[in-house]
């Protein structure tokens, strides 16, 4: 029973560490994500114009 509890805790912590490590890797190197959404974003931002009535 105690071994089962320990095993579960070990597996849980190990998986959590693996996932966090993936996220840290992505955060440190996220230029490798090739999403074209980023390009869309800059097209959208470059279309932006101020909406003021103040001179």
């Amino acid at each position: 029973m105690k071994n089962k509890k320990r095993l579960k805790a070990f597996v849980g912590i190990l998986l959590l560490i693996v996932i966090i490590a993936i996220h840290l890797y992505v955060a440190a190197n996220y230029y490798f994500l090739e999403s074209r959404k980023l390009t869309d974003f800059f097209i959208w931002q470059s279309d932006a114009t101020p909406d003021t009535i103040e001179k």
Binding site: I20, Y31, E34, Q45, I53
Partner: protein
Amino acid sequence: MRNIPFSKTYLTHVFGLSLAVCAIYWPVYQFSFLYGWDDQWFVTNHYTEGGFGLSNLWEILSTFHYGQYAPLNQLYYTLLYTFFGYDPFYFHIASVCLHLANVLLVYSFLSRIVPKLRMNEAIIQKRAPFFSALFFAILPINVEPVAWVSASKVLIYTLFYLLALLTYCKYLTLSEKPSYYYLTLFFFTLSFGAKEQAVVLPACLLLLDWLYGRNLKSHYVLLEKLPFLVLGLLYGITTIQSQGLVDNRSFYSLYERIFLGAYTLMEYYTKSILPVNLSFLYPFPFVSGETIPWWLWIHVLAIPIILYCFYKYLKRHWVFFGLSFFLFHIGLVINFFSLARHSVIADRYAYVSTIGISLIIAISVENLLRKIRNRKLVNVVVVIYLGILMVYSSSHVFVWRSTHALKKRLKTTIEQRADFSELKKYKL
């Protein structure tokens, strides 16, 4: 804490929290508006300059602005402009004041909640609300809504959201006094007036009902939530209508959204506790129709296994409350529902949900201090961790000082991307 509102401990905690906020955010007084990053339409617009005349007020309340419905936030800009004009100093100082108010409200809210978490140790009841609020105050992921004027809607929504939670706690403790119930409804409406994320309040109220030991199967308890649900539904429809005005770019399929949802959830969690390379823009991990990267499969498989492994731990009141609070508030923005965004996550969306994580971390540390022999070591580690968070936040604030600084930051981060040359033509 409510019985000793002006005790020495209370005043020391309030002073400590105020000091932490000021220490991180003092440089914002010299920051400008980000005219290349949404401030050019959210802040400087004809509604802001239109004053408090009836026609302008009606326009603010009845129209969507760039796919958003946030009339209270717009009124806030109008108010600041009426007194100070377009002086970024006052807009930034107001944002810091709102953040400080939120930190103190978090402290007040958790002071009421922690005694209900079935932990008898007086020291935990006394210290956990303070350390949770401190953690919330200094988290680097919470810098974005404070240092960026256009994100003030997050701060205003949180202010009224926390007031709604506090008045609901009062309602539960003061023999269900109706005035507090109506106040909760009122603050809920104001909170939605600033940001649509407030629609999850009914779920959060049920969480408080559970914590206060109310019978969740009771018709009265459920009927009580009906006005909140009706309002939430109306607010939800308003949000969908406002979002409909924005062109819907390539949407991901339900199958793809399962992977995106799992990835986004863990991304918010990791970025909250281990802030590495925070940005104002995060690329999607894959484009709709492309092969899903192998490392995203790990998320979908691992999250249920982790939950199974920690099932017993999750049943503890404080873990369940903190985790549910985090999930309720982050659930709307994990890309499972809405995808009309350019960035897979945004730091500001995690603002309220970090309260749940802060609570779990604060109580975990307190529990560790009780159990472990080498308390000195734990104290040293905690002080170093808090120090790192403060230093990170203090430097991250400067990313938001001008449009140039903001884009320069992104440019240095993504210049190794394959499509970087393509991005350059958009004046990055």
